[in-house]
């Protein structure tokens, strides 16, 4: 099966996500209006400014279409994308889509000067753990986990990567340093870390 993925292009680092998909040989297209969702098998909500993206989702009447799409198909969010995928956000400026049963605090580490690169160990409920350079830019924090949300990476006791069914949320930016593992989790059925395999592990 050939997978075609969309990247939400309202504002943010969407070009870097296209670059990751191009490296993986997966076709990706821009999503700017609701009908763009018709032809794709999955979606990435990129990094950027979550207030801006949240606002533009409503300005361009995308909310209902995005929610219906995300209920059925894989959605991955990085940083601002995770904020928009959350159920609860401690900020009235954000109206999230509610895919991931988590509570998120925006800019929880502070301003840009506190942005950092960290070494984080990711685990997939299997013997294989992978250590990766993790770039956090004005990053959010996941402060509360709901039911059926599994942590696949954490930093100082705070989750930086969570998966729940076909929804993957990251507080960091694998697209910034060209890491394609997380994109493969949702969009490469041949990967050992494909979400359906990971979810089987969690179910077992």
């Amino acid at each position: 099966m050939v997978i075609k993925v969309g990247v939400l292009e309202l504002q943010g680092d969407f070009a870097l996500h296209h670059k990751v998909f191009s490296k993986l040989g997966i076709e990706s297209i821009p999503v700017k209006v609701a009908k763009d969702l018709d032809s794709i098998d999955g979606l990435v909500i990129p990094g950027g400014e979550s207030t801006t993206i949240s606002l533009l989702i409503d300005t361009f009447h995308l909310r209902q279409a995005l929610i219906e799409f995300g209920n059925e198909k894989p959605v991955m969010g990085t940083c601002a994308g995770l904020i928009l995928m959350a159920k609860n956000v401690h900020d009235e400026r954000i109206n999230p889509l509610g895919f991931l049963n988590v509570t998120v605090d925006r800019n929880a580490y502070g301003r840009q000067i506190e942005s950092s690169t960290e070494l984080v160990k990711y685990f997939f409920n299997s013997p294989i753990n992978i250590e990766l350079e993790t770039v956090l830019i004005r990053a959010p924090k996941i402060s509360k986990l709901g039911e059926n949300v599994h942590v696949i990476g954490e930093l100082n006791g705070s989750p930086v990567a969570v998966i729940s069914g076909h929804h993957l949320g990251l507080t960091f930016h694998p697209e910034l340093n060209g890491i394609d593992l997380f994109h493969q989790i949702l969009f490469n059925p041949n990967s050992d870390h494909y979400y359906k395999k990971i979810n089987q592990n969690y179910a077992a």
């Binding site: 400014e49 207030t51 801006t52 361009f60 601002a80 400026r93 950092s116 770039v135 340093n177």
Partner: protein, 293 residues
Amino acid sequence: MSKGTFEIKVGLAEMLKGGVIMDVTNSDQAKIAEDAGACAVMALERIPADIRKDGGISRMSDPEMIRRIQEQVSIPVMAKCRIGHFAEAQVLETLDIDFIDESEVLTPADEHNHIWKHDFKAPFVCGCRNLGEALRRISEGAAMIRTKGEAGSGNIVEAVRHMRTVMTEIKRVTRLEKDELVAEAKNLGAPLSLVQQVAKLGKLPVPNFAAGGIATPADASLMMQLGAETVFVGSGIFKSDDPAMRAKAVVEATTHYRDPIRVAAASTGLKSAMKGLDMSEIPMEERLQERGW
């Protein structure tokens, strides 16, 4: 753990792509900008059109004013320091500013040297008129480049000239042979390593934004189609008759810059844009773009 690396600085610039960064002079304007969908604001005491009108020396903003804006909005807050004035930049860094603009809009403090921006944890943006100037600023540590345009003019012609020049020069570099890049670096007045990087990437190694004269939704669309990855709007919003509506319209046109029907919708029903100046009305010695070396 590492902080303040060049990669992290460029990282924030990447997050600001596909958006609009607006000049604001107080927290009320900052709120209007954020509510309209700005992805960042530039805090400054006077917008360029007023700096141009008032004359005198233009300096870094009062830290208290910057702090009030930081408290008002959750999007990144940028501020300007004078060209070469590294002490102003040090002050801005203590305020945890998200981006420092070493800007020709303020009166230059050093007529030969720009700030050595690698010394700072905060990222810098700098203006340019051509590829050589862009690469010199990147070599000094700028994590984002913008065209200079002609700030406070409401006239897009200079921003177009600068973006066209940068893009044409990039295309030229990509066509050159390895040995020809040395002479090209000499002609551009830029480090060979960066010229080689541009030849390989076919673009600047940091995000390339547009500034200086953007006043309408169509101006924003034009700059995006010419290759800008985000637009700065300075005087264009708060010198117009309907800042909130115009701010929203510019954001919409920037997101849908390739869709003329949407740009048309965004352009409809706006009150007057800022009056603006023809370049013939701005004497050479008053042109802000001539500042910087």
